[in-house]
Symmetry: D2
Subunit: 428 residues, 4 copies
């Protein structure tokens, strides 16, 4: 085990946690790798900065925050001498916390959807590939990179480590709530993290919460609920993501059709062809994507040029709320669009936000890692929604507002030529 | 005058000012122009994010903040009915506040130094050129763009408007102190802006401060002082700026020498040749610069490739404190470097931070726009450093720490071959 | 109408609202009356400071806060020119907001319960009696004191004014949530008051909320819910209130029995006899109550002396959770206590916290002033729990935890002599 | 050594430090004594709540805060293994930190001045007398109470412990700056305590600051400077303190003259006679003082009655700024007052605020415990004002604004009868 002499603890100033404390040499050296530094060029909230202008923070900041929370939890376990915490797992847990987002691409959710990629796979490929991160991890043991990767993949043989790093109450979620609230300015995400951390206990294979922390967990789940509706599912953000996906889709169509791009840049061809190597993947960042888009505003393909202009200059699609339970309505819209010469493949998109602040499940289900468990003073565990009315009420909420997005400038002049029952939807 | 009906006031959520209130149609439409949206791709603090990872905020956010503070000041003047404030100047002042940073290029201070550009000139060229911003401004009158530009240039015929927009206690400085403190997490920049705003008074040609606001101004100047030393002059940031300038310098040298770049992108050639048009200038942003640098890490020119790798992967120059009052020392270092085969043009840089929190001037000087004036209850003006010991003490401070920066990996192995008095400087 | 010239606006520094702005001469003069200054000697949260040591703030601070929020709401209505707001009601509303707590006695909830008093009645008696407040109000018109009193009594003929001052989303509740959160340090009470205020609309006879403010209201109600359980119903606070009520009860018993107090102070005899005049009532404050209690720690009556010692030195009753649905259990406890020589009238108290964050009511109920109404863009009103799952879930919550309180030192040594089924309740 | 099992760490919720952590059984039991609980009835800032209504916090809160900061410093020393810190002094230091204000009386500064008392003496008398605090301390050893007292008296034989508890950068000052800023709402007192704590080092006999913490210390000293001028020396507060002292003076005069008080309460007679026992002293609190004053508003002595009314109803003295360098002016005022029948002993008071944010001393002075020392990387110590221009500038500031206070209602009608050069001073 290589740990820094404690007197040389280093710190990063962080607006959310005040200071990030680095006490292990391995952490210092991982932060210093090109692969980790690349996260500075990938925003934490993708296109949300187009809705909340303050939300310009990167996955680099978030990753440091997740590391710091994990470090505080483990330090507390060590300080209090809880025997259910396996002390020898400290470094695996810290590394997994720090590196869990390493494989995120630029505008991650959109690019993953457009090109069927998965950031966890890429995280593991980077951990295990010919990279600086891999070299640093190897110094802790030949199997160390694989141990970290298996925590990410959730196949590690110590469930408590995975539960610490990935669970409904993990350091990842706690950091992003606090950080996204801080940077957007939306204060619903403010949680009493000190209290939650104080209430965490290692208990057999899991991290559980002392019963007296129930209200703090309720507050945390309500904060998540609010952040989902106020920030993550904001229709303006979704509108920009739709445009982003359409750009990726159009560019790929053109590439596959042999279109002669005036501007092309490595490694986009490999991205379109679905054969990115790890080295190529690591060259993808949001600077490159934005640069390509800005250059493409001058492309001859009018659709690509228009979409890129929309994204770069923030001319987003307009939206209307729509009842998605009624497929005929949507079919009627598509049909009406087609008849007036609009392109249903690009001029109308329907969006269904689906994530949940706390996953619903039936009370009869066995305890599992997606649940938050409370530990009472008789050492009994109970799933939180059994105890909390609040949690029960929001764990059942998954109906949301569904929106249909469209290019106002093209659609509105044609409304008069559409059937009234379609046109009226767009006229409010 | 086109002002939005007040009931349609629009807001932006802002972490620093809570809400940015847009009450004038012209402001809404200026924000929506491509030229203003471009500021999202230019960071407020240049390379400071390499020192303070949270400092990823853009000039877009800052510009909204400057506008908002200016709006609050003017609203207060209007509400309190101060006759020295010319009510008809509201829109000129708001537009100048919003647009004052429009001409900032990517990594502004470094690029300006490297290519002898000036962001205020560019702001005026954008305001007056064939741009969307110009078109929006024209709707308020044929001379309106020129009026806004003349505020920026400080040639406007209403000194009070210029004093509001540019002075040692202006909305620009107040916003950046608060915002940079918020995003870096360095809380020295926290000032009581509500109190300062309440103490401002239009007085003949100037904005002055009620005498009872003296301590609030002291606190503001101390905050600036602290932010200069803690953040703006941080040697790690300076180190990254030095590398940035070296990249620009090397790329230009290569371009002029006819070097065949494997990667080149518009409008860099025009930048190197010093003949950027407004349209070209507007394509310059930090995404483009970072993308070029990342691509150039694979260039054949070893120096360019190394410098770009340093910047992108944050392998910055090391630094030592140095007594710049002694030119022989510096000559000796350069000489020693040359003799062991190092390149004094790239392997050693000396940096002198020079800005001041409050400009020093002699007590006998006439009142001028660089001074902060206090208004006492007998309507007499006094320059603040005449009254405040604190301000007097810091207005005289301009000695700072000077550092010499160098590439550790190349220099340190050669120290043994240098004269001892030079080598010892690098060995602490 | 006497309103201060706007340029002489005065401010109070307030940690919650930053500044309290006084723009009306009447408000300034009301604050300056002895009756309003008395509120400095009555704590906002009664005995909560014995649980949360920071909660030492007074009703004076809170009253200023309620006034300030009301002022901001009205200013916004005036600025936006909403015609449903009756402009001539400004001063009645501001005065009612400022003075609504004027009649609160020391440790208000406990003293009211012990002596069957009602602070709203006392507020009206002070407003209408021979007081400085009454004199100041009279200057605005002969009927002005009565108009303010009728808002407090909810009999004023302008329902919108009462709805502004007293409703489930009123300035009173908003201030106490923010203020109690600030002073206790329990951050669950943090709400986005700027957003809520921006969403309020005068609509016919009521203040309603724009539909897009729904999530902000959800957050506000959740904050109230959390503050109830974390702070207002905290069992340690309830324990101290029980002791307080027992002191009042015992002192009255002794007084009525002709006991010779070594220390007695005006106006306690009148309090015990239930014949306090307004002048006497105004001499009651928490300094007086604490002083009497401290002196009574030396009384010969052992029970009174012990109870006062408990309160002053914070030797509170212990508590156990109890199922109050089972009256036999409670009877059995009382019986067991009696049999071992304990006094069921003082040695055991059961407490049922009952307030609700949002009152439940049936969906079929007509709209009423206890409801929060949302106004959609078609100008339709809907009660919030029809729209919000969250609100619906908490509006149904009124089961809480019930506790039984007892003097540990006296009870525990006697447990062995009680029936096992009783004793075990106390042994956990 | 009795230390709680670490798993039973207890916490207090604190708005300033978030949580106060109690890890030692002795601390828990000291907090629970009547002597420590009494501090709940003594305000931290005396009469400042009459200027800043939020400043209602007690010495109880502050004492917990001082304890917590001290605990954090020591924990850090222990965790980092600094050998210059004597580990066995932990409990002495923590107890001294917690108890250092135990002897503060009600409205401490005024009562001390009026009756020539000293709170440090009283602290020691309580520590060593027949008190619960003494009993708890004795459990740690027969000499333990004396060890704690000698830290307070600054005669302890371990200078580093005294330096930790009392120095220009001690936990006491850090807590009061943060806490007073928090409760008044004046944000000048905000300091980066985490950074300062991280920079502290035990070094031989002292606690010193790592050189890189210089700017943080500058900021701390500037915050003190600002708090002195904005809060502690605020003329409205001084005005109320003057009235308070006049009440004490008048009541003592009357008592000594055999005046028959309608209301008298223990232990005021002993206070007037200067023969308070420890038990009597412990019955003095602000509730008692306020109660006596409120009762005395009905005394027959008109002066006492008026002064008490002024204090209780906040009818404070008005003030004018005055040049105290000119004794003739003051003599002329007193003379003029006397001639028109005013009482120079009560109707005019001159106030000289004198405390300093950082004590000035000559550069030639040897290092002493009133200095803040910086430790450079070569282990050399330097007094901070040798290095910092800012500190040097404020360490020299001791001129302040001097005010003359007077009862406006009595003085102003008589101005016409005074010499013009005196009257004009009061007419601005």
């Amino acid at each position: 085990m290589m740990r820094l002499p404690i007197s040389e603890e280093k710190v990063f100033k962080d607006p959310v946690h005040n200071y990030i404390h680095v006490q292990d040499d391995i952490i210092w050296r991982l932060i210093d790798t090109p692969e980790f530094q690349r996260l500075r060029r990938v925003r934490q909230l993708g296109t949300s900065y187009l809705t909340f202008h303050g939300a310009e923070h990167s996955r680099f900041s978030h990753s440091l925050g997740v590391y710091e929370i994990t470090r505080r939890i483990i330090s507390q376990f060590e300080r209090k001498g809880y025997s259910d915490w396996p002390a020898e797992e400290r470094q695996v847990a810290l590394c997994a916390a720090l590196l869990h987002d390493l494989g995120h691409g630029p505008f991650s959710h959109s690019i993953e959807e457009a090109f069927q990629m998965n950031h966890e796979d890429w995280t593991c490929r980077i951990l295990l590939g010919d990279t600086c991160v891999n070299k640093v991890l190897l110094e802790l043991g030949e199997d160390f990179p694989e141990r970290v990767a298996s925590v990410i993949r959730k196949t590690y043989d110590k469930p408590i480590v995975m539960n610490l790093v990935t669970s409904p109450l993990d350091a990842d979620r706690m950091d992003y709530l606090l950080r996204d609230a801080y940077y957007t300015g939306v204060n619903y995400g403010t949680i009493d993290i000190d209290r939650i951390l104080r209430m965490l206990r290692p208990h057999r294979d899991r991290i559980v919460v002392k019963e007296s922390g129930m209200h703090a967990v309720e507050d945390y789940l309500m904060s998540r609920y609010q952040m989902y509706w106020q920030v993550y599912f904001h229709p303006v953000t979704r509108s920009s993501e739709i445009i982003l996906r359409q750009i990726f889709r159009r560019a790929k169509e053109l590439y596959e059709a042999g279109y002669a791009f005036q501007f092309m840049i490595e490694p986009l061809p490999a991205l379109f062809e679905g054969r990115l190597t790890v080295q190529q993947y690591l060259r993808l960042d949001e600077a490159l994507i934005q640069t390509a888009f800005l250059q493409w505003t001058a492309e001859q393909d009018q659709l690509l040029s228009e979409l890129c202009g929309r994204f770069i200059h923030r001319k987003l699609y307009k939206y209307i709320e729509i009842d998605t339970g009624n497929p005929e309505t949507i079919d009627a819209i598509r049909q009406a669009f087609r008849e007036v010469g609009l392109d249903p493949a690009y001029d109308v998109e329907i969006d269904f936000p689906t994530d949940l602040p706390y996953d619903k499940f039936h009370s009869g289900m066995p305890l599992n890692e997606k649940q938050i468990l409370l530990l009472d003073r008789h050492d009994q565990l109970r799933e939180i929604s059994e105890v909390s009315d609040i949690v029960r009420s929001i764990s059942g909420i998954h109906k949301g507002r569904n929106y249909l997005y469209y290019p106002e400038e093209r659609v509105e002049p044609l409304l008069d030529r559409m059937p009234a029952e379609v046109a009226d939807l767009f006229r409010r």
